[in-house]
Amino acid sequence: MAAEPNNSPARTEILRRIRAANGAPAEGTSASRQWNAIERDYRRSATLSHEQILDLLEDRLRDYDAQVVRAAEHEIAPAISRMLQGRGLSRILLPPGIDPAWLPQGFDFVVDPGTSAADLDPFQGVLTASTCAIALTGSIILQNVPGQGRRAASLIPDYHLCIVRVEDVVETVPEAFARLRNTETVPTTFFAGPSATADIEMTRIKGVHGPRFLDIILVG
């Protein structure tokens, strides 16, 4: 095993060099005190009304070529049905823990068996819930929790239909981080629109390796 034990000569030497450069070893109490003294005068709370925040999120998502519809709780199943019909898709992957009441008749919904990633390749699309959305940046946050699933599930199928609850929509990035508190170590993915690249002449091209098509249902 190449893994060196924690007292490897390299580790000892690097820490020695850092302490020599800084003049002394750092210690936790003063690190914590000084970290708390960092000025944080940037915006950390919302300035818009909740309705304005939802409009802003819709606007940002449309900017990324996602389709966005609003639906009440009892309208989720018909909304999903219309979205999938519009896209002409039927074989849809589900992470474990999706509310069965969401699922319309007439589609082939399959719960992720948790087998190899190659098994996910034949699916036409995936339906997930979400943890949080940031209006200012048009980002949606997924975590490995029931209804959102492992990271590969929302990555390999070419189409992603994502359910976002209005109470999970915040205006700014710091508000989203406040909501991630205590779940920091759960695998977390922010996505903003379909996968994209600007590597060729700085032209934004939609869809490289992740899902190329994205729709959102805003619930509530």
């Binding site: 095993m1 190449a2 893994a3 060196e4 924690n6 490897s8 390299a10 580790r11 690097i14 820490l15 060099r17 850092i18 450069a21 800084n22 070893p25 750092a26 210690e27 690190a31 000084q34 970290w35 960092i38 000025e39 005068d41 940037y42 940002r60 990633a117 190659a118 940046t137 048009g138 980002s139 492992r150 990271r151 590969a152 990555l155 990035v173 710091p174 981080f177 991630l180 920091e184 170590t185 759960v186 695998p187 977390t188 993915t189 922010f190 996505f191 903003a192 996968s195 690249t197 600007a198 590597d199 060729i200 002449e201 700085m202 032209t203 091209i205 490289v208 390796h209 992740g210 899902p211």
Partner: protein, 485 residues
């Protein structure tokens, strides 16, 4: 333009003035670089302009980075503890050679010996140590999966920008590379066609290759998490699908706490690509059963970063979060492109990073590859005062060249002349006599010098110099006082 086949290594690259001269003669390269940097600069300006708290974010970003460097040993140990607890294995590498050795050994332990291959996420840290060469020398096939890195790899080229490494190539050039290397003679040249070709070429590899190598944008000490930001989804593929993931990160990449990401994830995308947020940010912690790799290794690499830390004036260089905004804003980079810098780190940040990370004597011209206009400082999301560091490094270069180099002698002589009134007057008289054979009169009787000998000739190559006045200000003042009283 032909591919840039020479390894970008300051030890072997030509000096900046020589490489820049070649780059300036390549009109296609200049056109591509000018177009790309203009597009990113405009996008950046737009999305930065819509943030009313941008300056406050920059200030916090700077303070977080300064604080981290002042407590770097503490935060690295904390990261190691938390990453290990979550099932990751942490390795330490004093230099690039050690990092390559550890990485190669880890890959060999995990890949199948019949077809040793890895997929790779774009990483400037692995470019810095030329990891791919080491892996290939060990018989391991490397697939770059970022579109720009794929263009570079298939074109046998070198990266010319931190964020968009193939920005020196246009679509026709990329099509030619893909046609040849992917065997697609009928491939179109629309960017969408090229991206689709990359998608097909790589998908099979994502689903098959079971070991990945990545860099890291940020390590979080508080949680032991690693963060990667990207656009294409190739990063997510590499982080999620293989059995084994090996992450190589400079020791400077650590952040104290999870919440510090809320600052960096606002500063980085807007500065780097002019987006409000990267299409994808991934944050993961160690190993998660049923989600992602079963083996996760992090290699923490020093490679001279501690030497930079030990330099009171130079250490702010370590605050860099690799956004590339300074490259796009730099009037020198915009003319020459990245390859002339002879290092994977080009532009203003490269001009201060390369001489410090690699030994200075291999990169003595880089601190001079700047007009000190300050555009880089203005756009830097963590307020690194690049001009200040450039001047500091120029001082070091002059000292390193020793007391007998012509510039040092000239400056010393000037110093001696300016310190004494007698010597100053004598020098002025001497100058007027010495310039006589060089002065030409123009139509209106003004004297001009169009050629100076030796080292001074650099000045007159591209401009004319006025002759010295017959009467100096001092002479005039003395005359005036004696007449006037």
């Amino acid at each position: 333009m032909s591919s840039f086949n020479i390894l970008l290594d300051p030890k072997t690259s030509p000096t900046f003035p020589i490489a820049a001269r070649a780059a300036l003669g390549d009109t296609q390269l200049r056109k591509n670089v000018r177009h790309a940097t203009e597009v990113i600069q405009n996008k950046r300006a737009r999305v930065v302009g819509e943030m009313p708290d941008w300056q406050q974010l920059r200030e916090t970003g700077k303070q977080i980075r300064q604080h981290t460097m002042a407590h770097l040993d503490f935060y690295l140990e904390e990261f190691e503890r938390n990453c290990t607890r979550a099932g990751g294995k942490v390795h330490w590498a004093r230099d690039g050679e050690e990092a390559k050795r550890i990485a190669t050994q880890l890959v060999k332990e995990h890949v199948s010996p019949d077809s040793p291959e890895v997929i790779k996420i774009k990483s400037m840290t692995t470019e810095e140590i030329h990891l791919n060469l080491a892996l290939e020398a060990a018989g391991i096939r490397v697939y770059e999966t970022d579109l720009a890195e794929l263009i570079i790899q298939l074109g046998h080229d070198q990266p010319s920008h931190i964020v968009v490494p193939a920005l020196h190539k246009n679509r026709q050039q990329i099509r030619e590379i893909f046609q040849r290397e992917m065997n697609l003679p009928a491939l179109g040249e629309k960017p969408q066609d090229l991206a689709d070709a990359a998608r097909r070429f790589l998908r099979e590899k994502f689903l098959r290759v079971d070991t990945a190598v990545s860099g890291a944008n940020f390590l979080i000490a508080e949680t032991g998490s690693v963060t990667i930001v990207e656009s294409e989804g190739n990063g997510r593929m590499c982080l999620t699908l293989p059995d084994t993931l090996i992450t190589i990160a400079g020791i400077d990449k650590v952040l104290p706490r999870f919440v510090d990401l809320e600052v960096m994830l606002q500063l980085l995308p807007r500065s780097a690509t002019g987006e409000r947020m990267n299409p994808y940010n991934s944050i993961w912690t160690g190993v998660r059963p049923g989600d992602g790799p079963r083996n996760f290794h992090v290699i923490l690499m020093d490679n001279a970063r501690t030497e930079v830390l030990a330099d009171a004036e130079g250490r702010q260089t370590l605050n860099c979060i690799r956004c590339g905004a300074c490259q796009n804003a730099c009037p020198v980079y915009r003319q020459t492109g990245g390859h002339a810098y002879g290092s994977v780190y080009a532009g203003p940040i490269g001009a201060i990073l390369t001489p410090q990370l690699q030994q200075l004597h291999h990169a003595q011209t880089l601190p001079y590859a700047s007009s000190l206009c300050g555009a880089c400082y203005e756009v830097c999301p963590v307020k690194i005062n690049i001009p200040e560091v450039l001047i500091h490094l120029r001082n070091k270069v002059v000292k390193q060249k020793g007391p007998l180099n012509p510039e040092a002698i000239a400056m010393k002589t000037m110093g001696a002349i300016f310190r004494s009134e007698r010597r100053f007057r004598a020098a002025q008289r001497l100058g007027r006599i010495a310039e006589t054979p060089l002065v030409r009169k123009d139509g209106s009787g003004e004297g001009w010098i169009g050629w100076l000998p030796g080292l001074l000739g650099g000045w007159t190559q591209v401009r004319d110099l006025r002759e010295m006045p017959k009467e100096t200000f001092r002479d005039w003042w003395e005359k005036r006082s004696s007449h006037g009283r």
